[in-house]
């Protein structure tokens, strides 16, 4: 009788989770195996695998995400170490700024970079005055441009994830190693990096997933013209032309599987740390 009461108390949560999370998840999987006329088929997957357009969107997504995640990770490891080694006041100030700018992403970030590096951007004009055509070096509306913008939101996230793990390498370790006659380089190779390894893989996986799922920045930058997976999915369910929700479901299943895999990798990294 008492158990029944507890079940009553917790059931609204499961109702809400079913309605907005579980049923949508099942519906995406189910619909990915149906043609737009409702017939069971695996054609959606075949169409994706046979289409240079969709394959290119995966290729773009993977390359942009990997590049921005790796650059973001390298910068945040160096920055985290620098912040960690600094005196209190400056390190606190840097962390505060990192924390605050970590919320600057998506649509506003795309606009800010257009102001900086767009056709009439501040830096574009500045470089033009110096006799350099920015667009001949890189185009903000290209893959490389997107990587540069993504790196901006990867760095704060990377620092917030990496910084705490430097606590596990105390200066004492380094001093001990050096006074025992090893070089610093050897210390990092044999002790430092192995200690940081779980945090490094887990952060890389999170940054990678963060970029793979990102939609708003690329969408706002090019009005939805950019060929990456999230934007493709969005166009298939809310574009002006032809809507193909079941094809969108198949793309979603593939992307969701990748995101889930990355999330599990990051969790394993965290567990190894404990």
């Amino acid at each position: 009788m008492k158990n029944f009461r507890y079940i009553m108390i917790i059931s609204p949560f499961f109702l809400m989770v079913s309605a907005f999370l579980l049923i949508p998840a099942l519906s995406i999987i189910f619909n990915s195996f149906r043609s737009e006329d409702g017939i069971f088929t695996i054609n959606n997957y075949i169409e994706i695998l046979g289409s240079t357009f969709y394959l290119q969107s995966f290729k773009n997504s993977l390359i942009i995400s990997l590049e921005s995640a790796v650059i973001g990770l390298i910068v945040s490891v160096i920055a985290s170490y620098a912040i960690y080694s600094l005196d209190n006041q400056l390190s606190r100030m840097t962390l505060t700024i990192t924390n605050m700018t970590s919320n600057f992403a998506g649509v506003p970030l795309a606009f800010a970079f257009m102001i900086l590096l767009g056709n009439n951007g501040v830096f574009t004009i500045l470089f033009k005055a110096l006799g350099v055509d920015v667009f001949s070096i890189f185009d903000i509306y290209s893959n490389l441009g997107l990587v540069i913008i993504y790196v901006y939101f990867q760095i704060p996230l990377g620092i917030l994830l990496m910084y705490p793990s430097f606590d596990s390498i105390s200066e004492g370790y380094i001093d001990a190693a050096v006074s025992l006659g090893t070089s610093k380089c050897y210390f990092w190779k044999k002790v430092g990096i192995p200690i940081l390894m779980p945090a490094l893989t887990s952060t890389l996986a999170i940054l990678f997933a963060n970029a793979m799922g990102a939609y708003a920045t690329a969408y706002a930058l090019t009005n939805g013209a950019f060929n990456i997976v999230p934007v493709r999915i969005g166009a298939l369910i809310s574009g002006d032309l032809f809507l193909k929700p079941n094809l969108a479901s198949a793309l979603s299943v593939i992307l969701a599987a990748m995101l889930l895999g990355l999330n599990l990798i990051s969790r394993r990294g965290n567990h190894a740390k404990e």
Binding site: I10, V17, I28, P108, I115, I155
Partner: protein
């Protein structure tokens, strides 16, 4: 000493890098005209005046705050009993919850939109394009953060001992929960609540696809102004960012306070 200088330079470089886009957006929002010249051709407050006299902007901001607040409140009201009952009576719940809160990471943004739009565009519950579908989606987005915040808070309270002590003293479970556990919980979840709030204010893809112009949020409004004037848009970006700053500043201040207490 040399090493310390390098670290200082790296930290300064990082700060400058992170601030540059915001700084120039700020300047741009005050510029009267800045097109082919190195420096702005004069400054003006006109974009901010335009912004603060635009009812549509405030309505959009209000909608964002309303839908975010409602989904956070719903999340809190529904999650607390699950975690509390799970801790005291149904230990198996913890495992299930651990699996459930993984799902929002897979069903990120546009993927969740695919699932929701298909179910709720027709059929018995056609709520697509209304605030209800947005609140449901937001509920999912913040689920992992709210869950972690409430769980940490309940774990730190040692509710088992509290419940035993209270029942020994003759208090009902109901009374104990509302008089002892809940007030302590509310203090503990401030940070995750504000974090969820900051996430939802920055949310674009779900509001754009699920409700769009039918229930225009501040992000959708911001996106819609891109063709109007770069200066006006940057004024929106700046005022929006100020708003987020206040929220994240509060989070930092609370964390600092907690750290000092602990």
């Amino acid at each position: 000493m040399q090493k310390n200088k390098t670290n200082k330079a790296i930290a300064m470089g990082l700060m400058i890098y992170l601030v540059i886009p915001i700084f120039f957006t700020l300047i741009y929002s005050f510029a009267a005209k800045w097109q082919n010249t190195l420096l702005p051709e004069g400054f003006t407050l006109k974009h901010y005046i335009q912004l603060f006299t635009t009812a549509r902007y405030f309505l959009a901001l209000g909608r964002t705050m309303f839908s975010a607040a409602i989904s956070i409140i719903i999340s809190f009201i529904l999650l607390v009993p699950v975690i509390y009952v799970g801790k005291l009576h149904f230990q198996w719940l913890d495992k299930i919850m651990g699996k459930i809160i993984l799902l929002p990471f897979a069903l990120q943004g546009v993927i969740l939109a695919v699932g929701l739009i298909k179910i709720y565009s027709g059929g018995p519950i056609a709520i697509s394009g209304t605030v209800f579908i947005l609140i449901g989606a937001y509920f999912v987005v913040i689920l992992p953060y709210m869950y972690q915040g409430i769980k940490n808070s309940i774990d730190s309270l040692d509710v088992k001992t509290i419940a035993e002590a209270a029942s020994l003293l003759g208090a009902s479970e109901f009374f104990t929960f509302f008089k002892v556990v809940l007030p302590n919980l509310l203090k503990g979840v401030t940070v995750s609540t504000l974090l969820s709030f900051a996430i939802l204010i920055g949310e674009f893809v779900l509001s754009n696809i699920l409700v769009g112009g039918n229930y225009e949020t501040v992000q959708v409004y911001m996106y819609g102004t891109r063709g109007v004037s770069g200066h006006y848009t940057s004024a929106i970006v700046i005022s929006y960012f100020l708003f987020v700053l206040i929220i994240s500043g509060t989070v930092l201040a609370i964390n600092k306070l907690e750290a000092r207490k602990g």
